[in-house]
């Protein structure tokens, strides 16, 4: 299993355990074939669900505490949600390293439509690996960005079911179904 460093080591505002978080991150990384060390920084003050890749090499991730939270039990750690959050970040790193995403804009320049489309492709693959899912939640997000149309739903299915799309293919599918 890959080595995982979690910051902070102890939590004051939420009832998280850094060791448990490290185990979940390592488990997800292993299933995705990531073997190198991972650093995860958590902002426990924030109940929001933001997350980002700080560095692809070495792997450094940053998340709001809320991105790892159990939505049924505020302030408690949520394994399923954490697997989804960490899985999405790691699979994005793998995409960017694959050569298929060399023409993708940097993460902080992605538009909401692009983020939604890439997320669908990431989460669809994660779901097939048994990590995360929530297909209908992703469909709702995708529809919000691309329109509540049959065309958008067909594009969603294509993104969800495809195994390894390139950035230009994701862009083409996303652009092809956007409501003007």
């Amino acid at each position: 299993m890959p080595q995982v460093s979690v910051t902070p080591e102890s939590f004051e505002m939420v009832f998280y355990d850094a060791a448990v978080i490290g185990e979940v991150v390592a488990e997800v990384a292993e299933r995705l074939g990531v073997e190198e060390e991972i650093t995860l920084e958590i902002d426990e003050k924030s109940p929001l669900g933001r997350s980002k890749v700080v560095s692809h090499d070495p792997i450094e991730l940053w998340v709001d505490g809320g991105a790892l939270e159990n939505t049924q039990r505020p302030r408690q750690f949520g394994k399923a949600r954490s697997r989804d959050t960490i899985g999405r970040l790691l699979i994005r790193i793998l995409d960017r390293r694959s050569g298929r995403f060399d023409d993708a804009p940097p993460d902080d320049e992605l538009e909401l439509t692009q983020i939604a489309a890439w997320d669908v492709h990431c989460v669809g693959r994660l779901a097939r690996l048994g990590i995360g899912g929530q297909q209908k939640r992703r469909l709702y997000q995708f529809r919000n960005r691309h329109g509540f149309t049959d065309l958008a739903d067909a594009a969603f299915n294509q993104l969800w079911e495809s195994s390894e799309l390139s950035w230009s293919e994701i862009e083409r599918i996303s652009q092809g179904c956007r409501t003007p």
Partner: protein
């Protein structure tokens, strides 16, 4: 069957997890309210926000459990009081009609949860609405629930209706519009009964309005519900007028929100 049923004993299946007010208010990150968090930088809830769709899902789930509790509360009001001068039969009839409305709202909310990709029980349930409907004084109960909380529901439904409109989501927009129409009626019932039952009792009227303010304040964290452009939930002046609020009363809620915003930690 006993009168005044305690909030802790409401029937829920294993999908639902209750968060107490104590737990909610003691969250050092700020209490969760209206699908967001009181410590969050304020922004009107729109689909254009990066977390807009997820906040709308959380808010819709809050509406759903609120509908269940509103049904339970109106049902209790039918049962908890004997018909008399204090609780005319017509008031109970209004509450029975409200039960029917809330039942439909529960079913609509379940369908909307499915539409938005939310599982029932996915988010914690807060029991504040039902707790307000445990007040032993029928006038205070109606004021706290029908004017404060159903009043908040007017603001929330209108915000969600606009969300649906902006997102191009006709299902959300129509559902919220129809439920909004019912909520205006519920608030109007509260306003009418408050005035009728306290016509010759100014002290009781003041006590009831004070109780309403307490409940309103509980939902004014950080200016979450207000008239400013960046208020996540927009105070809906027109519908509140239709529901029997005076301009002064609406101004007071708007001021309360501004004060809460000014007092919020930056």
């Amino acid at each position: 069957m006993r009168k005044i049923f305690p909030a802790e004993e409401l029937a829920r299946d294993a999908r639902f997890i209750r968060q107490t007010n104590e737990q909610r208010l003691s969250d050092p990150r700020g209490p969760r309210v209206a699908g967001g968090n009181a410590s969050e930088q304020l922004a009107k809830l729109t689909p254009g926000l990066p977390n807009g769709p997820d906040r709308a899902r959380a808010l819709m789930h809050g509406i759903f459990v609120g509908e269940i509790q509103a049904l339970e509360g109106a049902g209790r009001t039918c049962w908890d009081f004997e018909v008399g001068e204090d609780v005319p039969f017509a008031l109970k009839l209004d509450m029975a009609r409200q039960c029917w409305d809330e039942s439909r709202h529960c079913e609509i909310s379940v369908a909307l949860a499915e539409h938005m990709g939310t599982e029932l029980g996915e988010f914690a349930e807060n029991g504040l609405l039902y707790e307000a409907s445990c007040n032993p004084d029928p006038v205070l109960r109606l004021t706290g629930v029908n004017r404060a909380l159903e009043g908040l529901a007017i603001d929330v439904f209108n915000t969600m209706k606009e969300f649906g409109n902006l997102a191009g989501d006709p299902v959300l927009e129509f559902c919220e519009d129809w439920m909004l129409a019912d909520e205006v009626t519920h608030v109007k019932m509260g306003s009418d009964w408050l005035r009728r039952l306290t016509e010759n009792d100014k002290e009781r009227l003041e006590k009831a309005l004070e109780f309403q303010k307490v409940v309103d304040r509980l939902f004014s964290f950080n200016g979450f519900r207000g008239e400013d452009d960046d208020s996540p939930i927009q105070l809906t002046r027109r519908f509140r007028e239709l529901a029997g609020f005076t301009d002064d009363e609406i101004d007071e809620i708007a001021d309360m929100s501004r004060e809460a915003k000014a007092e919020a930690p930056s």
